[in-house]
Symmetry: C2
Subunit: 190 residues, 2 copies
Amino acid sequence: MARWEPDAGPRLVRAALDLIGEQGYAATTVAQIAERAGLTRTTFFRHFADKREVLFAGQEVLGRLLADGIAGAPADATPLAAVAAALDAATAVFTAEQREYGPRLHAVIAENGELAERAAFKRASLRAAIADALRARGVGDPGAGLAAGLGVDAFYRAFERWCDLPAGPTYPELAREELAALRAAAAALG
Amino acid sequence: MARWEPDAGPRLVRAALDLIGEQGYAATTVAQIAERAGLTRTTFFRHFADKREVLFAGQEVLGRLLADGIAGAPADATPLAAVAAALDAATAVFTAEQREYGPRLHAVIAENGELAERAAFKRASLRAAIADALRARGVGDPGAGLAAGLGVDAFYRAFERWCDLPAGPTYPELAREELAALRAAAAALG
């Protein structure tokens, strides 16, 4: 019956992006995505709660990786140093395939209001996960939320640059650069 | 908004919050909200695009007020000083009625995933409106986005405190306090 499908998640993501590219988001069904991936609807719903979720694959894992990275930072690390360490650790796993997905995903989200809403919610959830991990280290407010906001901004700014530069720096290098730029901008707020 | 009906908007908001409080968000229809407010569905849709929008009444106006406030700040104001001036100007209109709505709105949004997604999107839109207004003043990136993020955080943090303190400071006073606290936290990031 239910077969072990080790790469079902990535296959479903690829199938979804292909179909949406061909026929648009609204016209694409979960059944079509599963079929294109050579899998069943049941397998789809074992991996994703709904059609929108397939486009945000890995976000939850990422939130956990970032939170773990912050928890594991040296005890004397500043909030922003802990965020930098977490970005390093969590994004070292980013693959070339994800770099190819990025621009396609952006294009789909930009054209659909429902997806834009979920994207904003995912971004806010990522920030909350980082802020909570900082608070668990004893960082107070509003510093925890602020450092988390900088971390999330660095994450997304680096992701855009990374997708644009197929032969450029690694993702962790770009994230570190963006975080440094945000830190400098914060110091210059006056 | 094709036509100006002086109190239709607030009446619809009040009716929506009352009905949602009585029977839940999912069970409440646009027709019921209009009827409770003594208005027609047509009038509802002149004011709000859908059922969710009635719970975010005034957000678009607020975005414009904040953007106008930033555009109108003195030419030599720092980005954060421009944000502070905009918060002062835009939130001076907040009424006691809005203070009463706040906690009820929070409760409804917290219980509904779709509303939480739209709330996150609205927050991101408000930030984008402020950042764009700062860029129009010549503020570069990532400073514009950062200052806008601090402004939006101050806005929501102050709103929560304002709703909790019926006899406390005015909203603009709280927003200024929160922005100062965020500015201090930004300077302390190290």
